[in-house]
């Protein structure tokens, strides 16, 4: 695993560096817009990887955390006049609290109960956003979200209104979020999470409390996902019920499964490639989504355990050949 981890890391790091530098080197607004999308999805996919890949809990609620972070942060800025830099953190905290309440209630039953409840939560959020018109303005959403202002020493307040500048902000957030998650999964806590996933009863008999560690994973994942949502809508400049769309759930799952659940850099690499893929296939407008589907089917056929799993298997095979 450690050797495979190193190879997956090399792949993930190069993909991440490419995504990092691309928008800065290429001219125009389009690369920066794509970069914002890539950085956001890297955080979303890593959040799901923490809950599903490391902890073994299939969560459909990630999109709910994303959307709740988005709405909370947008409402606080528009209605209460908060600074986005405080509001998006508040969005993450609200998402994390909701995640903890729902997870605490459902995990007392079973991990399957958690999956079902997380799916219900996502659907419920969509309905609430659409029907609680007095708060969310329903399907009209909250348009015209103002560009945040950033205090830069020496320059004063700079409006983050160009995609290039916004990309820098999202990238900085993504780097911090990924670094925090990386540290978490490679710590004592991360080891306990994997142990619980592999053999809950055995982990418990060594004094590991599964509920506590699972709640921690869900809390951190919801926090980062909510914060990502809170930032992302200020790039879109509008938040409406489509922020809870199943498209986000589906994309996150594709990224984690093709990247290899439980492989940190495998999933980051997959997030970078898959967020860019629909745009790379733009040369053929009509067949774009068909090609996207073909690439996904090919990826699943070629890497049933995800890219991370594929690298682990190749290492093992090479090792066996060396022994025989």
């Amino acid at each position: 695993m450690t050797a495979a981890g190193r190879a997956a890391r090399a792949l993930g790091v190069s993909a991440a560096v490419l995504a990092l530098l691309g928008p800065l080197l290429l001219p125009g607004e389009y690369p920066a817009t794509l970069g914002i999308s890539i950085a956001t999805f890297a955080v979303l996919a890593t959040g799901l990887n923490l809950v599903y890949g490391y902890t073994g809990l299939l969560s459909f609620a990630q999109v709910a955390f994303f959307g709740i972070g988005a709405y909370t942060s947008a409402l606080l800025v528009v209605q209460r006049g908060w600074s986005l830099w405080v509001a998006f953190v508040a969005g993450g905290i609200v998402a994390a609290l909701l995640g903890l309440v729902v997870a605490h209630a459902s995990l007392r039953l079973s991990r399957h109960a958690f999956s079902i409840v997380s799916l219900s939560l996502a659907l419920l959020c969509l309905i609430v956003a659409r029907d609680w018109v007095s708060l969310t303005r329903g399907p009209m959403g909250l348009p015209g979200l103002p560009a945040p202002r950033l205090l830069v020493p020496g320059l004063g307040a700079v409006a983050v209104d160009r995609p290039g500048v916004f990309y820098g902000v999202v990238l900085a957030f993504a780097v911090v979020a990924l670094a925090a998650t990386h540290r978490l999964v490679h710590s004592r806590v991360g080891r306990a999470l994997v142990a619980i996933k592999l053999n809950e009863a055995l982990a418990q008999s060594h004094g590991v409390d599964p509920l506590r560690y699972r709640l921690l994973a869900i809390g951190v994942s919801a926090l980062l996902t909510g914060m990502a949502g809170g930032l992302f809508v200020f790039h879109l400049t509008i938040v409406d019920p489509s922020i809870f769309d199943f498209y986000y759930t589906e994309t996150m799952l594709i990224m984690v499964i093709t990247g290899g659940p439980g492989s940190f850099w495998g999933v980051v690499g997959a997030a970078v490639v898959i967020s860019a893929l629909p745009d790379l296939l733009r040369f053929s407008t009509d067949l774009r989504m068909v090609l996207y589907g073909i690439v996904l089917i090919a990826a699943v056929l070629a890497f049933p355990g995800g890219v991370g799993g594929w690298i682990a298997r190749r290492r093992l095979l090479r090792w066996r050949r060396a022994l025989s």
């Binding site: 695993m1 306990a192 592999l198 982990a203 060594h206 004094g207």
Partner: protein, 247 residues
């Protein structure tokens, strides 16, 4: 061996099982400290169930389990671990997809961080073979090494009572000696061992006390060597010639 030792674990009329029907019925026994007590008996005698009841893994419907003069009541397994009872279940019970290092670290979750490092060092001194296999996945160790790893994981918390459920299960003869030698060594360090074993001859050779169980009850107890010589025991477990006389 006849010199009386203090009692570390006192089982009083313990009745335990899974469903409506108890598997262990009215079992009373005093386990002497710093000794090896081996439970023997035919399949279904309730030996494993008794061991699991001591660790709080099965429903105990009657009787009392008193460890170091304190009744355990309905404490969960993790709390019993903190009180000083370690349990190594039957069959493979490590994390095969994790390295030896990671497995040993997983045994230290009830300890403070600084103590955890010392605990790993302490068991490595006891099991030097594990240090040599530090970065190997536990699933790639031999059966004997895996059994040693599993005992090491439990010994990290420095239990004063170690419960072993069939430590020799599925081991080759060479591995078997290694495991029994280690158990004898653990006892020499002052840890009380209660084990269930089907490999009666090898187990009783290192045991101080033996308890024979059948149909959930205690049928015989005594010093290990005496129990081994008992014609009824020889007939049932060792295929001795006394089969005709015992029935």
């Amino acid at each position: 061996m006849t010199e009386p030792r203090p009692t570390i674990l006192d089982l009083r009329e313990v009745t335990a099982g899974y469903g409506d029907e108890p598997v262990v019925v009215g079992f009373s026994h005093r386990v002497p400290a710093a000794a090896i007590t081996t439970l023997v008996g035919p399949n279904g005698a309730g030996k494993s169930t008794l061991l699991r009841a001591i660790y709080g893994l099965v429903v105990q419907v009657g009787g009392r389990i008193v460890f170091e003069d304190e009744e355990l009541g309905d404490l969960p397994p993790a709390a019993r671990l903190r009180r000083g009872i370690g349990f190594v279940p039957q069959g493979r019970c490590n994390f095969p997809l994790m390295t030896v290092c990671e497995n040993l670290q997983l045994g230290t979750y009830t300890l403070a961080r600084a103590e955890a490092t010392r605990a790993v060092e302490r068991v490595l001194a006891l099991f030097p073979v594990l240090r040599a296999r530090w970065r190997v996945l536990a699933g790639n160790l031999s059966g004997g090494e895996q059994q040693l790893l599993e005992m090491a994981m439990v010994l990290e918390t420095a239990p004063r009572l170690l419960l072993l459920d069939e430590p020799s299960l599925g081991l080759s003869p060479a591995n078997l000696d290694q495991v029994f030698d280690t158990i004898a060594d653990i006892r020499r360090r002052g840890v009380t061992v209660v084990m269930v074993e089907q490999n009666v001859e090898a187990a009783l050779a290192i045991s101080d006390t033996a308890v024979v169980m059948d149909l959930g009850r205690k049928v015989l107890e005594g010093p290990a060597h005496a129990v081994m010589e008992d014609p009824r025991v020889r007939a049932v477990y060792l295929g001795g010639t006394a089969a005709g006389e015992s029935r």
